[in-house]
Amino acid sequence: MSKYYLNYLDELESEAIFILREVWAQFENPVILFSGGKDSILVTHLAKKAFYPSKIPFALMHVDTGHNFPETIKFRDDLIESLGAKLIVGSVQESIDQGRVAEEKGKNATRNALQITTLLDALETNKVDCAIGGGRRDEEKARAKERFFSHRNDFGEWDPKNQRPELWNLLNGKQFEGEHFRAFPISNWTEMDVWNYIKRENISIPSLYFAHEREVVFRNNSWIPVSEYLKLEDGEKIEKKKIRFRTLGDITITGGIESDADTLDKIADEVSAMRKTERGDRSDDKRSETAMEDRKKQGYF
């Protein structure tokens, strides 16, 4: 066999770099949507490679629900400093204070859906014409339909039934005033690919991904971390467990799993033996069969 072929991780890396460079070439004011989770950290790492030796030419935009893990915010600020990049924060709390959105009511209230308004407002205020996301097609059935360059109309909406066909490596980012694009450079990566690559490149990620002792409450089949926002229900009790998080979202809705995986090697091994999808621990996706599709159509990440 000839030596002139790439292994699958190198090919995924090359594809992602190609897409990031295409975003830079085709748009005026692109940003990376940065949540502090492993996927947006990966996208940022790939952007560093794509433009080396130049600095990352994108600002990082964080939609802040106010319900953060403190570890995530610290990680974000350190990364911004080391990159010398610009940080734009869209605040859900401000959207609430300004009356743009209203806090959800009821037992399982979260700020998850409120992010849509804050995100779209932040994109408009900052005149962003392309928002780069860490969404992956293997995450969820609505995301399986995403293009690399995904068009959003002037209301920020996604129309999954009427998408532009995407052929070969030819990406059409043309748009009219007021519309914008989302770009997904790691569309073709699976959770396993992400971990194998993070391990290979030794990319630093928030400590929350590694097994650690934490005060938690068992709710909806996963361990929800104790925080100032958590209200105990009848019959619930606080326990101390060794857990880690597979995904990072709001501290109010992100469930941890019991684990001893405290190194990247152990995490990769654990993930490869997992029999549940990573979003299985996210209560935002459990609301209905089409929870993600409905949010995405309105302009969600």
Partner: protein, 418 residues
């Protein structure tokens, strides 16, 4: 799972719900242990709600709300699975609605196409359509899955009959590598596990074929083509005079010291250095994303192509392509479109429709000049400036174009250079 030296294989599936396409994909995912517990649970619940016996494998590929309600696939959906030998990307395309548009999209980057045939019905019009598109898009490997063998008593005779039917019409096509597999996706025969009902079949299961297809030579390694995406100019103290040309090698191999020409200007220079990310490399090949510096300070920008001095593409302003029309709005005679070719963009018009192809009969029609959704035709395109073209047969990356309607910004057509 350590699969660090393993390749990525992209394949597309063509067929309709009736051929058992969704069941086949569900079976591949299920038997290769790529289905997670919560997915299985959700599909088991839905199967029960719908009154199916057991788990309906087809539900693993269900997508959007409308698709679940109508039991159809609307758009290309991507699925992933990994075995100890390879990582796979499936572009799952619908068989019925807008089949040409979606199949062309899914096929454009595929190494292999799966064509599904219902063993009871044998080769039908749809089989010919799908095979034609696979051939037109130059997919290197075709795997004909003769499914539902359980409904024809696992008959070897029937299997051979269908192969003969297929070979009768496929001799007109240009696919290099065709394989046949008799299977039952429903029962799992010859998908991942060998069939105990078809001892007479000596070939591999579908998965073992997918795992062993020779795909390293699918990319053209002879003609070196490097379309420039963007220019890197750090302007930091450390890299004051650095000018790196960033792009993805479309085909061929580059080495430092190679004599190169920059097209369309024709200026020549030598490769000074190449980088893949932070790492400097001596050699770069398709499909690596790299940046390149040249010995001489010449004008290079996005849309230019850096090629070897002794092996150059044709610079053309007027050329023929096989065009697939992908939009509800029909082509407008002499209207202007934007053409995208590698990283280059020009304005273009369709000068002439040479002939249209009936993809059921493969007949050419030179009378009908109207191009509507799902039509395939040979057309003559004229552009404002020269494009650096290879024929699509030789080079999928530098032989392909799309047309964009300037009024709607939509991608309306895909073209393959003849």
């Amino acid at each position: 799972m350590e699969i660090n030296n393993n390749q990525l294989l992209r394949f597309t599936t063509a067929g309709s719900v009736d051929d058992g396409k969704s069941t086949l994909i569900g079976r591949l995912l299920y038997d290769s242990k790529s289905i997670f517990e919560d997915q299985l649970e959700s599909v088991t619940n839905t199967s029960a709600k719908k009154g199916h016996d057991g788990v309906d494998l087809a539900l693993f590929t269900d997508g959007l709300k409308d698709e679940r309600e109508q039991g159809i696939t609307i758009d290309v959906a991507y699925r992933y699975f990994t075995t100890p030998k390879r990582k796979f990307i499936i572009a799952d395309t619908p068989g019925h609605i807008q089949y040409t548009r979606n199949m062309v999209t899914g096929a454009s980057t595929a190494n292999a196409a799966l064509i599904l045939i219902d063993a009871r019905h044998g080769v039908i019009e749809q089989t010919k359509r799908h095979s034609f598109i696979a051939s037109l898009l130059n997919i290197p490997h075709l795997i004909v899955c003769i499914n539902k063998m359980d409904l024809v008593d696992f008959s070897e005779e029937r299997y051979n009959e269908i192969i003969t039917q297929f070979e009768e019409f496929s001799s007109k096509l240009l696919v290099k590598d065709v394989r046949f597999v008799p299977m039952s996706a429903l029962l799992g025969d010859n998908v991942v596990n060998r069939s105990e009902n078809m001892d007479w079949y000596g070939g591999g299961t579908l998965l073992s074929i997918l795992e062993t297809l020779h795909i390293s030579s699918d990319i053209n390694k002879i003609d070196a083509r490097f379309p420039v995406q963007t220019v890197l100019r750090p302007q930091s103290d450390e890299h004051r005079d650095y000018r790196g040309y960033a792009g993805r090698v479309a085909s061929g191999i580059y080495r430092t010291g190679d004599e190169v020409s920059v097209l369309p200007s024709g200026f020549t220079s030598k490769i000074k250095s190449m980088n893949a990310g932070e790492k400097e490399v001596e050699e770069a090949f398709a499909p690596m994303s790299i940046s390149m510096t040249l010995e001489d300070d010449i004008d290079v920008s996005r849309g230019d192509m850096i090629v070897k001095k002794n092996n150059q593409p044709e610079g053309e302003q007027e050329f023929d392509v096989m065009l697939c029309w992908l939009n509800n709005d029909a082509a407008k005679p002499r209207a202007k479109y934007t053409v995208m070719h590698t990283s280059n963009e020009q304005r273009a018009m369709i000068k002439d429709v040479v002939y249209k192809i009936d993809i059921n009969t493969y007949n050419r029609n030179t009378e009908d000049k109207d191009l509507g959704m799902n039509d395939i035709a040979r057309v003559t395109v004229r552009t404002t400036h020269r494009l650096m073209l290879d024929s699509y047969r030789d080079n999928r990356n530098t032989g392909s174009i799309i047309l964009i309607d300037e009024n709607t910004n939509e991608t309306v057509a895909a073209g393959m250079i003849v």
